[in-house]
Subunit: 99 residues, 2 copies
């Protein structure tokens, strides 16, 4: 499983709305082909920063798969209004015996 | 559970040795009070970068707990020789229903 790793900073006054929007947006991403897991956590040292970890069967299920699907626009429409800047997104492969 | 999130860059020629060292270092951290989970993954876009996720019962189990214990020096002695620069480390709280 490939892990999508995203660091998202949101506007300081928008945490309650952002978290509610993620709950709705999760329904969209969960239905995507190759979706495997979802977790959002909030920063302790930087409370306006969130760590989003999404598991995908393959990298291609996320990019280009989900990213170029109509569902991506819907996913982003829920959460993007609360972003401060653009999320930093990259991907990580498992390591046998260590992941 | 609090998640320790570390981004570690290693020297390009040291991947095999680093991964073997992590296997040994994991034994050390796994025995620490409050340790809950361990996962290391390797970057796809940046193959010299690793994502380390360690679950701790509380933040204090990691800092100051593990960090100020003799086991921390042992953990670091295994893996530090391969670092390129210092790891970026922070912590994330779970969100009810989203983590």
């Amino acid at each position: 499983m490939v892990l999508e790793h995203a660091l998202i900073t949101v506007r300081p006054d928008s945490h309650e709305e952002f978290q509610a929007a993620v709950t709705r947006a999760r329904e969209v991403i969960s239905a995507a082909p190759g979706f495997r897991s979802f977790a959002l956590r909030r920063g302790i040292e930087s409370p306006d920063r969130y760590l989003l970890l999404v598991g995908w069967e393959t990298l291609e299920d996320h990019v280009p798969g989900f990213r170029e699907s109509p569902a991506f626009a819907e996913w982003r429409s829920h959460i993007q209004p609360f972003f401060e800047g653009q999320p930093e997104v990259d991907h990580y492969d498992p390591l046998p015996g260590l992941s």
